[in-house]
Symmetry: C2
DNA sequence: ATCTATTTTTAGATTTGTCTAAATTTAATT
DNA sequence: AATTAAATTTAGACAAATCTAAAAATAGAT
């Protein structure tokens, strides 16, 4: 399994190709910043290896083996991210690039030991769930902040957009995972929110609210 | 800098090419288990990049930049080895293969943080010195066990051969770095040694004695 | 149902790193 | 100094992963 093959599987999974849903070569190319013709070539190769189902002009979806492989790479990526933050004091906006490299290290023992060292974390620094060794996901009932009703409360548990600028913006405004949030008011005009976070009142734009995951209190 | 280029620089350094000494393409090919013609190709490329001096039919040696680059890769390799042993309970015969992969991860911050986490170790698990960030080596006055005079004493500080079979052999015979050694007698017939190690008396073949480094007591 | 715009694939080229086989240079021996 | 053996390089080929440009298939609109 080459690094390139692994990156394709991971991308297809992230685009939803794990649920027998067909992903277009164009969509994959755009996500990976490559050309559709390159994707076609790789689709054939992965199909020959039994990792994706590929029908010409119909896109690709992951086979069971493909899903399993993708999950093991995502597992490694997210565990390394936790390692970088928890053990080496990286910030959550610094980890992605390095984890993109570390996820391709081939050693089952290594990643199992990292998992153990971190005490088997369930979520990465951006709140994304870490698949278990046997490829299971811990689903979590979370909502986008923008979907929460007025007067409801919750805890900030993840980000949808984990780009560096967004993460830095959150830092600057003291918005961190684990913070408690109460929706005070919605502004019909621009869909912005008035919220209370850790006691303090603040205003949140719609753009931000659609990129923050909240776990609603019962 | 590609992974392949890094591996060539590392190999040339290990073969002594860091001291303006010319290393033959054949020697490099043999060490890397590749073909001399492939080495020639890479020699040209590294020469174009100013990392080696290459004269046709005369072999290659590292430039100053080449030495610096090689040392930074060796530094990463050895730091990762320490990490694997100290933090993840790998044994000293398991670390090489994984470190061969980890040494190519590109992140200065990562390796500096690993260095810090390990409290700036000076030697790797096989007793090899770890170059500093600015490419300096800690030289150490060490001798091969086979070169120690009768009745002299020392501490076992490193292995010359760090192959898996040799390391496993040492483990099986309770020979570990840090052990104290006293040479009791030499057998002229087969050059074997009678030694005292950590109090116990034992016999050591010449083959073993030429692959163990000892720091002689004053 | 046909036409058109879009998507997707094919064909052929490119780059990197490798190889084999042949040619060349160097080194060793007489 | 000539000859031979060994080391080294060159030339040409290949596989992986990519690209461009042209061709083919699909989907949407009328």
């Amino acid at each position: 399994m080459t690094r390139s093959e692994e990156n394709y599987l991971k991308t297809i999974f992230h685009l939803g190709g794990g649920d027998s849903k067909s992903i277009s070569t164009n969509a994959i190319a755009e996500q990976m910043e490559t050309k559709p013709s390159s994707v076609t070539d790789m689709a054939k190769k992965l199909s020959d290896k039994g990792l994706v189902d590929y029908v010409r002009y119909q896109g690709v979806s992951l086979t069971d083996v493909g899903v399993k492989t993708a999950l093991s790479i995502i597992r490694k990526h997210r565990l390394w991210e936790v390692f970088l933050v928890k053990k080496l004091d990286f910030t959550w906006d610094e980890v992605h690039e390095v984890a993109e490299q570390l996820e391709h290290i081939k050693s089952e023992k290594l990643i199992d030991k990292i998992d153990e060292l971190l005490d088997f974390p369930k979520y990465d620094p951006h709140g994304d769930p870490i698949p278990t060794k046997d490829g299971k996901f811990q689903e979590r009932d979370e909502k986008l902040l923008s979907e929460m009703p007025i007067n409801s409360q919750g805890v900030c548990v993840g980000v949808k957009d984990s780009s560096v600028p967004f993460l830095k913006f959150l830092d600057k405004n003291n918005i961190a995972l684990g913070n408690t949030i109460k929706i005070l008011d919605k502004e019909d005009f621009d869909n912005s929110l008035r919220i209370q976070m850790n006691g303090k009142e603040m205003r949140i734009s719609h753009q931000i609210a659609t990129n923050l995951y909240v776990k609603k209190n019962p």
